[in-house]
Amino acid sequence: MINFLSMNGYGVFVFSAFVFTMINFLGLYLIVRYQLKKEQQKFAEKFGKLNLDKVSIANKQKINKEILSASIFSKI
């Protein structure tokens, strides 16, 4: 195990490169996921405030229903 971690003296360089990469991946994934959830939530809130006439107009666009169902499922 110690041999694996030390990598003949290069362990610090090798693992810091891999850890930096993984931290960036995780950070980017979490930021983009947060932005997506925030927009879905905003959409669901705005949709909930529409009156019946506007809801029927909005429902004519299939994508609005898709976004709404996605935001409902993401809360479960």
Binding site: M7, G9, Y10, Y29, L36, K46, L50, Q61
Partner: protein
Amino acid sequence: MNFFNQSKIFSFINKYHNLILVFFLVVLSLGLIEALIISPEDYLQGDSVRIMYVHVPSAWISLGIFSSMAFLSILVFTFKNKNLVIITKSLAPSGFVFTLIALVTGSIWGKPTWGTWWAWDARITTMLILCLFYLMYLLAWRIFENKDSVVKITSLITIIGAFNIPIIKFSVDWWSTLHQPSSIKILSDSKIHESMLVPLVIMTAAFALFSLLIFLMKYNTELIKIKNKGLDRL
């Protein structure tokens, strides 16, 4: 164009997001085992060569993403298609992060190999310029509020930045640099041994899956933003 049906794209992304995430994690795990455990050390660089398995795929993908963005920006100018603008915008965040990873891991690799964290070598300098172009692109979307202007400015940034791509690619052939000439060639035999090529290919696949995942999530975010504005106009 049915291909650009936003509702279908949105539903496709929602359906397959988790599948792509799981697939990415499986390929990444395989790649990490290959890169850190199975692949041999280099006869000259020793174990430090393992940094190649994160550095090289990041550099390849950052170049690929910027080239795609430049190509899409030319199409945006030609066809004025809003969907192409969303696609280009959604590609940028992962491209920027991959460029940053390539620069930082390259710097970490430089210390044991060249004895320095940084050198104004042609390849490194042109990669830094690419990183700045990504940064300018992302900042332009935040700074400019007029939609028509921002589309023109961001498209111009990517088209001008695209001139840097062949310079990055051929910098190692045109100038005497610290970087070695490319070991992997599509049209002729590669100089890299199979035992190192396999982990490199697996890690590249994992990184490509990650950029696809981020692109799809970002694309959906942008679509919902537009639809949010649409609800305001009702």
